[in-house]
Assembly symmetry: C3
Homo-oligomer: 469 residues x 3
């Protein structure tokens, strides 16, 4: 029905033709990957052992195992091991068969598109997963994973990645990044500081602060020295190439506490004696504090909010955190972010990129905010909305108010390293098609669309994340 | 402009051609009607007297009289009689003329499409209602309603209904269903237990409990015996063919009370001494309790939330409940449903189908929840969203995250028996067109779409509601 | 790519052809402008000095300067003068160059479309703004603004404006309107009463009440005389041709206070001693009171809610109110408006037109409310949603439930007088294209669409605002 080269373009012939033409301007551009969860040790190792196709394509992918779980397939049957022991399927051929037997569940989802495109583009395998071909494909993938051309650094070059940012704890020594630098390999892999654990006063705060103290070589005794240690980490990360930090919070609530009030909560937190109100205020205060630090050191600040993580207590207890049970909630920025913006919103020295999972905020709050405050940019569609329709709704809701130049371009946010190119490709196709629609409806000039498609595919991410500096 | 056979398909020729082709795979499939409000006595009677076209097409249809009321036409002028007496138009020819004089108000609404399709497909009348043809059409409809071929059981066969579920109070003896069974007629008509009245502690609770006690033959003296009586009703309904229950609540709030706390509220409720907090907690507790019972007896649980019913106090006082003045509110599932899901969400023995009137929850909450929890399914678009665009937005917002196999297919939810086929037809057309769009954009393979269109039209409803058991 | 005459129409050829055909039915109809912010003195003056292109096209347009500010351009650099002195760019040629250098920021926004269409249709200038042509265009515009044909009354005739409503403070003497009437010119320019300042008890209430007292010639000593003064203003505005009032509130909260409670708050407000709860209740009460007055005197009531105005405290302090820093919030109507609707919602003598900036309310609350209550109409998409996609989403979310006859047609809401025709033109094009889509999908008959396009472009606004009386 549809030529493979026209996938994700509109069916309308004029728009499709133009989409194809715009897409050819960007499909070979280098990949800018300013936010994601690829583990740096994959690239630091001289030789990386991928494991089986299940290790690479199924076990790390919560999009996939959450869907299978929703239809009654136990995580153990997919090779995910319970934390505290118990039966788990170890026969990866059998797991692969189970996945393929149920692959029909993914019809119409981005997982299906990513898998199909990844098999085709990366693994040279031009078939749709099903029960019949499961074992044949397993064999083909296994062979590929053993091919030296599949070693991560070779893929980095083949994927044409210009820069790849990882996400790293504040207490990380960035040993893998240093090893990579020392290896003499030319690929640019930069860390990103994610200080959530050392800011979350509800979970092992004293232990986290102790670890922070040790790695930063700062004797943390109060709020002031705590801030000094965080500033040390920012400085260290920046020296290692970081251009950004990343923050998760339940909501976008911000405020500015007095130093005395902040120290009061800090001291209670060390003793494990905080109230929910303490948690809310300290989290909101620290976001404001990180914005201040960003103005000082120039690191771009990313804020992800709006997900109730680990919603399923059975999975949390048996498998731990981040098992696909994130459930979005309503988000609010207009009031919540105002205290931070009152202080720093008008300052172009701050770049604060906002992500969330409540699409109603796109047109109502994010676009009006980013279309006004110099410090704000809207991040690309996240998690469940990193999809053809998620992207289309994002463009539709945001651009009329904020324009594209108040957005942050694309980032793949993936933990699945071999899926990086197909995720960028999907964005580039949807962008090209969206722009083609604007042109054929007389809403943008064709020559402008030619510039915009490059900005969306490449320029905006590079500039917004200071990767051009 | 548009051929009748292509209605509700996209204008784009390639998509339209494929939509037509997919539609032909399902347009003759039997109708699965697992949720609706057809009164069983229509079918139980040996001869059913339909009354006038106004009795059949106007008076029972709140979509129609709410729109006419919004433009200043009194309900009395449409033949709806005030509860406590007063003038009401009894000349149905005159009412029909009033409706036709104002039919232009429905341009662009599903009521117009249903009426047009129903007149054409069911009544062989190929005209659009207007002032000029009102009386002629009235005559034609009157004649049809007197035709023996229009008797409800004949229509049931003509409509190719495989199964029709009614909605019945917990205190119902299901006499009509028993009469139907005893009649020897082969049509499958099953009851659905709707226990709202015997759970709603704000309205005549003591009287409802007394009625429940009598019909269940359980001496209800406390919370424990109250639960026993409800379980008896579930057992009885299941014996009569029921496969599901249906529950309405203002919100999706759930919790699990201790038996002692539940009994405390129950006892206060019998005395009419409950607080709003009691109401909220008891309602939320009973939803959790019904989920537990569903796991025990296998009845599918439906939950409809999010409407502020009887918003117009003048109509409520003069005409009673359910006069078209339902106004939706924001809904919330992520937090509200968590207590129930903590207990039962991972259990595939429970099927909990969620309906609501806040479309923002589709992508943000319902799809992520149903795409994770084995117990959850998303019900089709309800009330104001049972429409071409309501369906398109439903597919667009839900399927990328949850897939189609975590949805419950379609149900017509109608109280207008002769409108059943056209409502399914509209769903089947919109489904086919949506799938055609996925294929022509390279997002789904055509052969998969051929399976999906059948699942959406027939298979999913049958399976989800256990009508295949 | 796209012929200029086909702009904003769908790319699909059949739909486009029909859209063009429907558009020709309305593109020459007179303009009904029932709500906007054109200053009446522009038309009252015998000769109006426009000033420079920057005075006309940039300085009054918050869409434009908010976007430029979001990218770090100071308002002072755009010619906006701080309230309390300080440097401001006065070289308008330089400002114009700055704007043109950054015009690429507006790609994909309605500002770009309005500017392009206004330059083309009104100023005979067929170029897109850019750095290279900035000064040439500046010269062309300057010459046009000095042309006698550009005098406001000549433009009024050229634009084919049938009626233009201004927005005026309750304390206004309407001197400009009286001057216009006395001038003998035939153009219909009517005032609209906007009593927000004399109802807002948080800002200089005593002074506002004193001014109201003076202009109304009512000695305001208590709530009762305050109401009498407001009623006097309504009477006076109506005598001067007003058919409507306009109200802004943070939320749609309404209630009905006893006269004694209202007077209590009123007296505290005069002394500047109100609580936030007083403010909320008094605002909600006054909305209800204004609805009562509307029933008495027949003035149509407009309600705009849902924007957090003056979000940026730095701009508020330095430049004052309304500097483009309005940020929308979630809105709620179902509960908030109920007290008012309980009293007056069923009364066709009231016309209450609702506007807001939370699109989620369109389908969930506004359409169900307007599709039921005789008193309610939905206003056209406002502020950030006065755009191609804003209009499409509006039609998509509202019409299936409320029909078009419960909407208020279009109003341009502009303070940029020369932009009036292009704003109506955009609405007429998008309406025609939307209707064409309904026809080609078999959802509306073509002959009905021919009537609907005229109603949307002309009839509904005229009727809803009582401009046909």
């Amino acid at each position: 029905m549809v030529l493979r080269e026209d996938r994700y373009f509109s069916a309308e012939p004029t728009q499709r033709d133009l989409a194809r033409s715009l897409y050819t301007l960007v499909n070979k551009l280098p990949l800018i990957c300013p936010h994601g969860h690829v583990e740096p040790h994959i690239l630091a190792a001289d030789y990386y052992e991928w494991g089986t196709p299940v290790d690479v394509l199924i076990i790390p992918d919560h999009y996939i195992f959450r869907m299978l779980y929703s239809q009654g397939i136990a995580l153990e049957a997919l090779g995910l091991a319970p934390l505290h022991g118990g039966a788990v399927e170890t026969d990866h051929r059998k797991i692969w068969q189970t996945v393929c037997d149920h692959w029909y569940l993914f019809r119409g989802t981005p997982s299906d598109l990513w898998m199909r495109d990844e098999l085709h583009d990366i693994f040279d395998c031009d078939q749709q997963l099903n029960s019949a071909n499961a074992q044949t494909i397993y064999d083909e993938l296994t062979a590929k994973l053993r091919d030296p051309a599949f070693q991560p650094r070779r893929l980095f070059e083949r994927f044409n990645i210009e820069v790849l940012a990882t996400t790293d704890q504040a207490t990380s020594t960035l040993a893998d990044h240093q090893a990579l630098t020392n290896s003499g390999w030319s690929g640019r892999v930069v860390p990103t500081l994610r200080p959530d654990k050392v800011v979350n006063i509800t979970h092992d705060f004293a232990a986290e602060v102790e670890a922070l103290s040790a790695v930063a070589r700062v004797d943390i005794v109060d709020y002031q020295s705590y801030i000094a240690a965080l500033e040390q980490r920012r400085h260290f990360f920046k020296e290692q190439g970081a251009t950004a930090t990343d923050h998760f919070a339940q909501s976008a609530y911000t405020e500015r506490l007095s130093e005395r009030a902040a120290d009061g909560i800090f001291q209670r937190a060390l003793k494990g004696q905080t109230s929910p109100e303490d948690v809310r205020r300290f989290t909101g205060h620290m976001l404001t504090e990180f914005a201040r630090m960003s103005i000082d050191d120039g690191l771009v600040m990313q804020l992800h909010i709006g997900s109730l993580r680990d919603h399923n207590p059975d999975l949390l207890q048996r498998f731990g955190r981040d098992m696909g049970a994130d459930i979005p909630t309503t988000s609010e920025f207009t009031h919540n972010l105002k205290p931070l913006l009152d202080l720093y919103g008008r300052d172009s020295a701050l770049t604060l990129i906002l992500f969330n999972l409540d699409e109603t905020t796109y047109g109502r709050e994010l676009a009006p905010l980013a279309g006004h405050y110099p410090a704000l940019r809207v991040g690309p569609p996240w998690w469940f909305y990193d999809s053809v329709l998620g992207m289309r709704r994002y463009f539709a809701a945001i651009i009329e108010t904020a324009g594209i130049y108040n957005t942050a371009g694309f980032n793949d946010d993936t933990r699945a390293y071999p899926s990086i190119p197909v995720r960028h490709d999907l964005w580039r196709r949807v962008s090209a098609d969206w722009l083609a629609g604007l042109v054929v409806e007389g809403r943008v000039e064709e020559e402008d669309a030619c510039e915009m498609v490059v900005d969306l595919a490449y320029g905006l991410a590079k500039k917004t994340y200071h990767l051009d500096r």
